[in-house]
């Protein structure tokens, strides 16, 4: 579709995010990325989880599946298998995608469906007013961990790589030009793409602010890093502290979940005729 701009996605609803929320940056980058790729509101499907990230659909005009907390990826895969010609973007959070939805995350990655996951990663369950999420780093004081987080955090990049994702990247909601390109690359990539997006929560997180991130983030591209080696990618993913890399960590080409389905060779599932081929042959097997 031509003539798509960010404005094409307006719904008339005003965002309800807190002013300064990291979600704004992600929203703007997603609209720009889709527009640049020529995908308009009826050309794809967005699948949302439940969380602050999940409220985005109200001000993002696209076919949307706003499902149950944690169940974003199964729904996205069902949609993709039914109409694999449509781009499918799963918009999830660190709680929705790695807590409630942790099992689904692992299995989606191993199947390699051609889906893009934008993970809003702020170490918190903000919509429920500030509990620690699976990515919360040790020592982080939150409503559910007043003495500071004790557990080791889940590392979404390492998890994605080891589970079989074929495009693994980290973005930052405070660097939208970079994020736009990352999202475009992720959507263009044929396979399971994860964009773990750092997204400061201005209301419940006084530690990991925009300034905190800006002092630490550095671009992988600046280092002549090539994302074609799993071991190097895993090592890079483990960097967190004074220096935090962002960009594309790992990328490989591998047949997708849809590639394996014989029923999808000639057309999308939704466009197949309802009449059943070979039905009588199958009946004969039982006589």
């Amino acid at each position: 579709m031509t003539n798509v701009t960010s404005a094409s996605f307006q719904t008339g609803c005003k965002p309800t995010w807190c002013p300064g929320c990291g979600d704004f940056g992600i929203w703007m980058a997603l609209k720009e990325a889709l527009a640049k790729l020529g995908y308009g509101p009826s050309d794809g499907v967005a699948v949302y989880g439940i969380g602050c990230h999940g409220n985005m659909y109200d001000w993002m005009k696209m076919y949307s599946f706003v499902g149950l907390h944690g169940r974003t990826l199964p729904a996205a895969q069902g949609i993709k298998l039914s109409n694999h010609k449509l781009p499918v973007v799963a918009i999830s959070g660190d709680g929705d995608g790695l807590g409630e939805g942790g099992n689904h995350f692992i299995h989606a990655a191993k199947r390699n469906p051609d889906i893009t996951v934008i993970l809003h990663d702020n170490q918190l369950y903000s919509l429920t007013t500030g509990q620690a999420s699976p990515t919360a780093k040790p020592g982080f004081k939150t409503k559910s961990t007043p003495k500071g987080v004790f557990d080791a955090p889940i590392n979404p990049l390492m998890l994605s790589i080891s589970a079989g994702a074929t495009f693994v990247a980290r973005g930052f909601s405070g660097d939208t030009p970079h994020l736009i390109q990352l999202i475009m690359d992720a959507i263009n990539h044929k396979g399971f793409s994860v964009v773990d997006t750092m997204q400061p929560c201005v209301t419940f997180d006084k530690d990991h602010t925009y300034d905190w991130y800006r002092a630490r983030l550095y671009k992988l591209e600046s280092e002549q890093y090539t994302p074609d080696n799993k071991i190097k990618a895993l090592e890079k993913s483990m960097e967190w502290g004074d220096k935090i890399p962002y960009g594309i960590f790992y990328k490989e080409e591998r047949p997708t979940s849809e590639d394996h389905e014989p029923a999808l060779v000639k057309s999308t599932l939704v466009n197949q005729p309802l009449a059943v081929p070979h039905f009588d042959e199958v009946l004969d097997e039982f006589i």
Binding site: K61, Y63, S64, L68, G78, K80, L269, V276, E281
Partner: protein, 577 residues
Amino acid sequence: MQDSVTWKIGGEAGFGIMSAGIMLCRAFSRKGYYVLSTNEYPSLIRGGHNLVTVRISSKYFESMNRDLQVLVALNKETVDLHIKELSSGALVVYDPKDYEWKTAEFAKPVGLIPVPLTELVSQFKGPPVMRNTVALGVTVALLGAPLDILSDVIHDQFKDKKQAIIDSNIAIAKAGYDYVKEHFGNESSMHLSPAAEKEPHLILNASEAVGLGAVKAGLKFAAIYPMTPINALITFLADHAEKLGIVYKQPEDEIAGINMALGASMAGVRSMVATSGGGFALMVESVSLAGMMELPVVIDMGMRAGPATGMPTWTEQGELQFIIHAGHGEFPKIVLAPSDAVEAYTMTAEAFNLADRYQIPVFVLTDKYLNESQWCAPLSVFKKEVLIDRGQVVKESDLPEDDSFKRYRVDVPDGISARSFPGMKHGVYFCNSYEHDEQGHASDSIDGRVAMATKRMKKFEAIAKDTRGPEVYGDQDADITFVSWGSSRGPVIDAMEMLKEKGKKSRLVHFTWMYPFPGKEVTDLLSNAHRIIDVEQNATGQLASLVREHTGIEIKEKILKFDGRPFYPEEIVEKVG
């Protein structure tokens, strides 16, 4: 000569008795006999005690008999465990190498048929598992049939294997057949009376019937996690996915399964899931999701003995109330409960139309007895055209260009609003688990909430048009009225025949449409009944509770069986007194 013979084969898991049972069913069904076969096995892969029971009759019947006429024991334990079930004059086939049985060890008169199963197999250099093939040859001879009824089936059953395997199976079966002819040539007490020709019948279990019904009705996507007793549906769909042009996806858990199916449904494809009680418990939140999103989906719920892990390989009808009430919040659903494989096929096909027409989750309530027994079902049923009704789906050309399309418009007389599919220009909407307005935007306004909830509940009035009351069988002026649902029909029907022979008339009010409950029809049928007897396979009489809830009629007399085994008509007759 016998009109009906009940034959049982027992041994350890891995002895090939399941396929032996299927072959026997196919062989005799092709010759015009009616057949039904059940299996019993513990939740193991090797060892344990496995049983297949086959009833063969020249006359139509609907359930298994309690007593056996022929017992084939592939180990001594089989006789020990089933000695009490032998009818007077039953034949006991066994390998004298396992144990040398004596007639004095049996309480009733029996015909001992020692056959050197192991030795015959080793003469053909076959593996021990082929003892069941010898036993099949023995059986065909004892039932008075020619061997070729079996060799044709062996040929078909093994058609994907090498000719040498087919040949050796036929030869080994012949060895058993010849042995009986030679050593027990005069034994004709279990010869079956001749059967009239009947149209070709399928021998299949209800899981396969569900699969066929779904596919015929246009199913394109299934996401099913393995769980007894619906696993045969997975095998059927996966084996035939390429031929039938469908996608079967194995999910990581039941929650993923139903959410994949809901995604597929939203994208415009007929989809289904299948599970048992424990797996369904995991799906319950997503059932509520289907209700809120107004998405069609079909769920095959195969009941087994609960609660929790329960008895995975044994049957029960314990989830009726659970299914009816499943899903937080209030929204319409439909629950169907087939009585046999034919209804498993037709009602599954019907379920897809109902789901699309009302945009709701529709349940097909099956159970282990249905799903894992071999039923004999007329081919003509499966050849009939199935009309496909996709319900209210917008035409892309009708969608207003100003994007004002309202997926959930409330100004519809029956609560059903047309839906669009992703990809359609100007059909964008938000398929939302939150309460929403007419385009799907989240909304918690007073008027909006009342309007949208009312819209969903209005569907109940429309569903009333499709709602079926129970079927009525038997004598209308009878003193006894049985009430049953789902797979309990067969045993009650056969019990009614037995009672009639004893001079007792009875009537059956049998339910296959469970919810929304047809209260008015039921009141009409039961309010003047004298002696109502509820017959079901659970401990609390769940159908009786439903009847009381919707009609006020309290059924005091109940025949409840919850030992994991299906009903036998004899025990119903005994309890009637």
